[in-house]
Amino acid sequence: MDKKYGVYICTGCGIGDVLDTEGLCGVPKEEGIGVKTHPFLCGKEGVELLKKDIADDGINTLIIAGCSRRVNFDVFNFAGCIVDRVNLREQVVWSHPRSEFPALTEEQKDDGEHFDRLQMLAEDYIKMGMAKVEKIDLPEPSMLETISKRILVIGGGITGISAAIDAAKAGYDVTIVEKEASLGGNAAKIRKQLPNEDPFESLIPPIIEAKIKEAEAYSGIEVKTNSIVARIAGQPGEFTVTLKKPGEATEFDVPYPLPDEMKVDENGKELDVEKLIEVYNEYNKGKKDILTLDPDGELFGAVILAAGWRPDKLEGKAFTHLGFGKLPDVVTNYQFEEIAAKGKITRPSDGNEAKSVVFIQSPGKGDDDSDFDYTGSVTSLVALKQAQYVREDYPEGKAYIFYQHMRTPGLQENFYKSIQQDEGIFLTKGDVISVAKNGDGLIVEADNTLLGEKIQVKADMVVLAAGMVPATVDDPVINLAYRQGPGFRDNAIFNEYADSNFICFPYETQRTGIYAAGCIRRSMTIEESIEDATGAALKAIQCIESVNRGVAVHPRSGDMTFPDFFFQRCTQCKRCTEECPFGALDDDEKGTPKPNPTRCRRCGTCMGACPERIIGFADYNIDSIGSMVKAIGVPSEDDYSEPPLRFLGLVCENDAYPALDIAGMNKLTYSADVRFIPVRCLGSVNVIWIKDALSQGMDGIFLLGCKHGDDYQCHFVKGSELADIRMKKIGEALTSLALEEERVAQFQVAIDEYDKIPEIVNTFVEMVEKLGPNPFKGF
């Protein structure tokens, strides 16, 4: 694109009152670039001025200096034009009152002693905007050659079937893969189902059969039973999937990354590259490399992971006080359901009728009032349901439920209340101390109950409310042919559930195009699973349609840019492959990365990781930000007797940048010697920008971004954490240059912590001021 530049400075909202407009205009003028000012650029007349320049003068690259880019986004949007917004309002005049940052008097001008910090700030920002637009282009979408719109559903239980029906109803073809010989999963193994609609009072017959029939009626739904996923290769829009029989070994079984202990020799020394490849090949013998596509594989656009759960077997000694494993009539809720599904409830030990059954919700040891592992409200509800089985089978039957907290949230409270009406069901809080044999029956002892301190209940059977273990505890299930490994990363944070860390965006995982639903995410009732399946189906469809348009999915939905690699200079260091939060890159044997654009979320973490700086986006790259850094004026003693220090702040555009804006709106004040540059994610910050800034004489640099750790707030999962690691490393490098490592720092700030920004910024500035100027200044 042949760029024709135009700089437009809005003098409204106090900008013209505070800043020397003529001085600002001098910046582009010096470069021979046209500049215009307007008192109300976002108004009708102002926009007309812009449109006229675009139409008449062929201006196609606009630098608009005025308010933040967070506002008037729709006003300053011109098709086919590059637009950059220079934030003179929120981050210059609103956050830096003249009372604190005085303008120069006539005498002070050019006296070599005084300077106008605010004017310098504004002029720098205009220079930075001009530098940036020179280095960016309009993005063009990255299109796949062919796109599969078929959806793969892993798991043929209630969640998988529901997801398939919902996708088929919207016109998408679906393949359900089920490891058992028939559809239905755990939902087919129950006697009755919890209420799933208003008034949520009584049990209903299982709905799974009807759902299976409904699915079978759709010609667009294909069912493959006795099948599991051997591997999913490729990327959204063109996943190549190999299926196999359970237990079968095929050459397209996914290779696994080497466990850490195999990456070192017997002395604990890291193996060299060749040796690593050798060990890796041996470890994955008989399996094709991840980059080899199965010629017989089937193509899919997106995947829904609905592999569900297995009953917790409660193995081990932890529950011996409950007689589990020792007394045959102490069973889990799952075992009890199996008995109930077959017919009348009878005791496993002798087949006699079980007319008195005790249900235990919490293991009840010491002060711990937790339920069993992998439980949830569903396990409370199941106890209520199963108590009713006892009453259905035996008019004189009695059920006792000992709980710490009866968890029947929302409208399910109605079911709890209806059970409370049954005189044969006794519900009480209580710490169960022991379950012991009592003649041919059992006796349960509990303390701190609502019925008295210590009580004993005789029972024919005892049922423990065991949890629902997600399939991902045992197996990655999705078997991705990704260099980073076959499963979702970081499931340990979620107790091995395939869950999302985002409350606002519950379907976002670290693997684009793969959406989890149902009990693989957390324990759910059938009703909740069906609802969750619908959401996952929407996300799968949305991903396919986004790929079809060549645009990114969440959180940069609609973004057409994608990372470009200049492979000639790649040194095969693999950092991009390893650091990508979404596993978008697969390196080959040599270590050269293979990009998978539709896996990419456009955060730029690869760009930040690359030591050779060969990765960039059309509108965001090493050069565009680097040029902004270079455009910052660093005054030296040649300019002023006591020049101001200069600071660079690289800020996350998602949270820290809005926080800076809000600080401005609240007229909170901070140093005017800092130049902020928004970045897509702190993960995209390349250390070269920091090195350049330091060698240019800047005195301190900080990153401002999201909280990391288990409750990370980074929209790109790992960006702020990776940046933190890089900054620590750069600190070491600084020390070797005899520069204080404190000159580079990273701060965490949440979007609502705008009130903390002045303190963060000013404390850093004061700290560096104490260190004194960068010794490299002026070189």
Partner: protein, 425 residues
């Protein structure tokens, strides 16, 4: 903004309610490629979550997700947002609805730059609904700093006064339009998703819990505003009677919920909300004593259980299983004595504290006033979804009490239900 080349579009979707559920349904459908109209009755989007300080269990600010969602709206030309809008009438049938929407005047037009001059000029102060009346704001106001759309509002309370004229004069951009009138618009849509949300149950209706009678009894939603950096106290949690930092606080769980006289159901969020409030208090007051009176602590699932476990480790947090029977105020100290019976020991407890928080429940906005459409409701006023019939669906807390994560799951699914309606035609 998206460049649409192959969007499978056949008809558009109306989403009523711009809270987190409505936003989610709107965005998820639009990003598949459908045209979506979003109608919100307030002058801003975000609904209830915009009033929250943090989400449980991550303790992250809701404005973080809202900001991303607002950006998604900005970048998507398939979405049209109407604030200050309410649906007046729905005619037609599935696939072909004709909807009449009333748009109330904001008295500020698109010229507004958010410079704040009108606010500075306005002298009248009005009670802040956003902050549950805990402070006053100017008659010309920005709902909150991150409000979307970023545009001021002139309260109808000052229309016709000199103050309104002052605002108009102060505006350099001719953005204040005092002659703006309500208008109606008509939209033709194929499917409608009602994300009309919830409101806090009116605590004053719970006679024995003293809200409105004793100053130092507040609600859980008020705690959210007090704890918010942009709240009436700029994030300080102070008791109302004397702005003292409370040294002892009691939480009364199920204030209205699980109660035949008020809300018969469980409101789903209040247990986790109170545990979250414990973290707010602890962050500010390391030694404050906290008493939680509960029936059951409902923190189901690994994430919530983990959060509860962490709170239990705090030696100055006391959990008492027992429903609060009455509260009394000491007229001198303005302290409150909470009276309850310990359900386990049977012992009668009288605990004096400096402040009481009522964990009030959620009630659907459709409890009393029904929507002008052919919808079914349960006894409590939640909208019942009829998927067989299709065409119109309720999302989020319009459908049932739920936390944010479940609401968003539900709302994402409802986007697909709406799309299915359009495809089926």
């Amino acid at each position: 903004m998206t460049e649409d080349k192959a969007a499978p579009v056949s008809g558009s979707i109306l989403v009523v309610g711009g809270g987190i559920s409505g936003l989610t349904t709107c965005l998820e459908a639009a990003e598949v490629g459908y045209e979506v109209f979003l109608v919100e009755k307030n002058p801003y989007l975000g609904g209830r979550v915009a009033q929250l300080n943090q989400y449980f269990p991550k303790l992250c600010p809701p404005s973080c997700g809202l900001e991303i969602n607002f950006r998604r709206i900005k970048d998507n030309r398939k979405i049209r947002v109407f604030t200050l809008g309410e649906v007046e009438k729905v005619d037609g049938t599935l696939g072909n609805y004709d909807v009449t929407i009333k748009l109330s005047p904001r008295y500020v037009n698109e010229n507004c730059t958010c410079c704040g001059d009108c606010e500075a000029a306005c002298e009248t102060e009005i009670s802040s609904d956003f902050n549950f009346g805990m402070n006053k704001i100017k008659g010309a106001y920005l709902p909150f700093e991150m409000a979307f759309p970023a545009r001021y509002v002139i309260s109808s309370q000052i229309i016709g006064t000199d103050d309104a004229e002052r605002c108009k004069e102060a505006c350099k951009y001719d953005a204040v339009d005092l002659d703006m009138e309500a208008k109606t618009i008509n939209l033709k849509v194929g499917a409608i998703v009602w994300a009309t949300g919830w409101e806090p149950y009116d605590a004053a209706k719970i006679d024995n819990l003293g809200f409105g009678k004793y100053q130092n009894i507040i609600t859980n939603m008020m705690v959210e505003r007090l704890a918010s950096p942009n709240g009436p106290t700029k994030g300080q949690i102070l008791r109302p009677s004397d702005s003292k930092q409370p040294e002892s606080i009691a939480f009364v769980q199920c204030a209205g919920s699980r109660d035949e006289n008020h809300l018969t159901y469980c409101s789903y969020i209040c247990c986790m909300a109170s545990l979250k409030h414990v973290t707010y208090i602890r962050e500010r007051y390391p030694d404050a004593k906290i008493y939680i009176f509960y029936i059951d602590i409902r923190t189901p699932g690994y994430r919530y259980e983990k959060f509860y476990k962490k709170i239990k480790e705090d030696k100055n947090v006391f959990f008492i299983k027992g429903k609060v029977a009455e509260v009394n105020e000491n007229p001198d100290s303005k302290n409150i004595t909470v009276v309850a019976e310990n359900a386990v020991t049977g012992e009668k407890i009288k605990q004096e504290v400096e402040m009481v928080v009522l964990a009030t429940g959620m009630q659907p906005t459709t409890k009393d006033v029904k929507l002008p459409a052919d919808l079914k409701y349960n006894e409590e006023g939640f909208i019942i979804n009829d998927f067989e019939k299709g065409g119109m669906f309720a999302a989020g807390c319009a459908n049932k009490p739920a936390d944010v994560v479940s609401s968003n799951q539900n709302a994402t699914g409802m986007a697909l239900k709406a799309i299915q309606t359009l495809v089926r035609r």
